[in-house]
Subunit: 122 residues, 2 copies
């Protein structure tokens, strides 16, 4: 990444990354990315994140098979947020929805359920 | 919001909010939202955020005129991230681009410039 953007990982060493379906434009999820997660994403072409609760690097879909192939990684103006444009296998959400944003703030269910989480996570 | 989702604002009292163009699906920006910013957004129908650098509630476009009319506010599965579906007036980015994500991580310029920031911010 000689000519690449110098991502500002800040005090906690993490930046938020928005995953968006490269075809449909649907916003799928938001997760956090460490320098090592970004490096793994760019090297493998598959989305990696950093789990703050488990405190570890994490390849999306490693357990469920619901991987995200990377089309492009974008950086925002302040270089402190990433946008992953991806091909999502199955669904992005552990609840079985295509997108984690399957509810309005008013509690209305607007998202599509694409798999049964009990069948995927044992 | 009697039947609404209880947003988890966490230790710092803020959640990240992704703003997405309701028509085109373009991801425009990411900013942070406090409980008061969310309340102002829902009450006025115009996107509000919380500026961490200026430490204040902030109505997007108040200076520039590049406001965001709210179509819908969504919440993710963990209720700790918001998605604002908006009608963006002008451009979302202070650099004059439609979206803050106008560069790839490799430094390629991929976004559309829609206004001259020097003419807007004096």
């Amino acid at each position: 990444m000689t000519d690449g953007i110098d991502v500002d990982f800040g005090d906690d060493g993490l930046v938020p990354a928005v995953a968006q379906d490269a075809d449909s434009g649907e916003v799928l999820m938001l997760a956090y990315v460490s320098p090592a997660a970004l490096e793994a994403t760019l090297e493998t072409g598959v989305a990696h994140y950093y789990s703050r609760s488990r405190d570890e690097l994490w390849q999306k879909g490693k357990t469920s098979g619901h991987t995200q192939s990377i089309h492009e990684v974008r950086v925002d103006c302040d270089a402190d947020t990433l946008l992953y444009l991806v091909d999502q296998e199955g669904g992005a959400c552990h609840t079985g929805h295509r997108s984690c944003f399957y509810r309005t703030v008013d509690g209305e269910h607007v998202g599509e359920r694409v798999f049964d989480p009990e069948a995927v996570y044992e």
